[in-house]
Subunit: 210 residues, 2 copies
């Protein structure tokens, strides 16, 4: 008797691992080489997978990168949730949350996503593949932010403040593409944390006084 | 007697016009075709300039795009200043200023700059050429924003709020690359304008009470 799974399961597992390696290699290639440099051949080589196997899993490069952004994005949101559970509930909690989110947008996944966004802005087919994925990852990050801040985003003002916060953080991610912008970013996030707390508090105050 | 300038001047003028056409063609090509598609040949063709003349003015593609971002960026900041002079000094002035600035970051120049940023994040030579130009255009926009808002950015809190505003607006520019994001952007800028006014006002209040 052996602990090895039955052959069908083994194959499924191998297939899952291959897909995963290809998706991770795609993100790495995009963030380092850009869209033009990230050919299927380059990605397959980085993943240690044959060109044929690559094409078997992902018929086009658009399929592969869309799946990669969704997979890696979802994984990282999960990782953020785990780390978030360990965040202190102290007075600087908002600032800690913003720093954690900014970490998400200064990683290779964001560099890869930025490469894809600009490539897609000049390529209608790629854009059609990326838009739903990007919206999905965006919604996951938005939901996580709402949960972390402990606010109710059915309220339009609150929802807009959360969206503004995430657009600000994506803007900071963009600024970080060309240089290490962490010193400036730290000050800006500190200032926005205080401003956001004030805005959310005055909103709650007004609501209580309704 | 004729009104034509002397031959030396004529040549200078022709050279200026050629450079200008090349720089504008470079921005157009970048925003539509991306970095990989914007070869010197493509840009020269779009400008109606021979490949040789193009190389005479700009030895490398990096030289051309760095000059183009600086030239077009400076021109657009000047244009913003002119339009700003006509902004009403009414109660929604902050929001009008933010909309004007957001207009700057949703134009072809921003799409071209985004193409260059991501290309430069994977290309050290291009990065070295772009960083000083990007910093210069960024400083011009910052200075204009400070002047329009009528605030004193020698004060760190105020400076950070202005920087956050511009990072937010660049984040909104990024979101607009893949789709027409204007409806969402309008709500976010409205909310940000109110929040920014509150923050600047409370800052002034505290200062008056020092």
């Amino acid at each position: 008797m052996s602990d090895a799974p039955p052959p069908g399961r083994q194959e499924q597992e191998r297939s899952r691992v291959t897909r995963q390696r290809l998706m991770e290699a795609a993100i790495g290639a995009l963030s380092e080489l850009g869209w033009a440099g990230s050919t299927m051949t380059v990605i397959a080589e980085r993943a240690g997978v044959s060109r044929g196997a690559c094409q078997h899993h992902f018929p086009t490069r658009g399929d592969l990168v869309a799946a990669a952004v969704e997979y890696v994005g979802h994984q990282q949101v999960e990782e953020l949730s785990r780390r978030a559970a360990r965040l202190p509930a102290d007075v600087r909690r908002t600032e800690s949350i913003l720093h954690m989110l900014a970490g998400f947008y200064t990683q290779p996944l964001f560099a890869a996503a930025a490469q894809l966004w600009v490539a897609a802005s000049a390529d209608a087919e790629l854009r059609a593949q990326l838009l739903p994925v990007e919206a999905k990852v965006g919604r996951e990050v938005h939901r996580l932010t709402v949960a972390l801040l402990g606010v109710d985003d059915r309220e339009p003002e609150t929802r807009e403040l959360v969206q503004a916060t995430l657009d600000l953080i994506r803007g900071l991610g963009l600024a970080n593409l060309l240089r290490d912008d962490s010193a400036r970013r730290k000050k800006i996030l500190h200032r926005w944390a205080l401003t956001l707390e004030d805005a959310l508090r005055s909103r709650r105050g007004r609501k209580a006084g309704d």
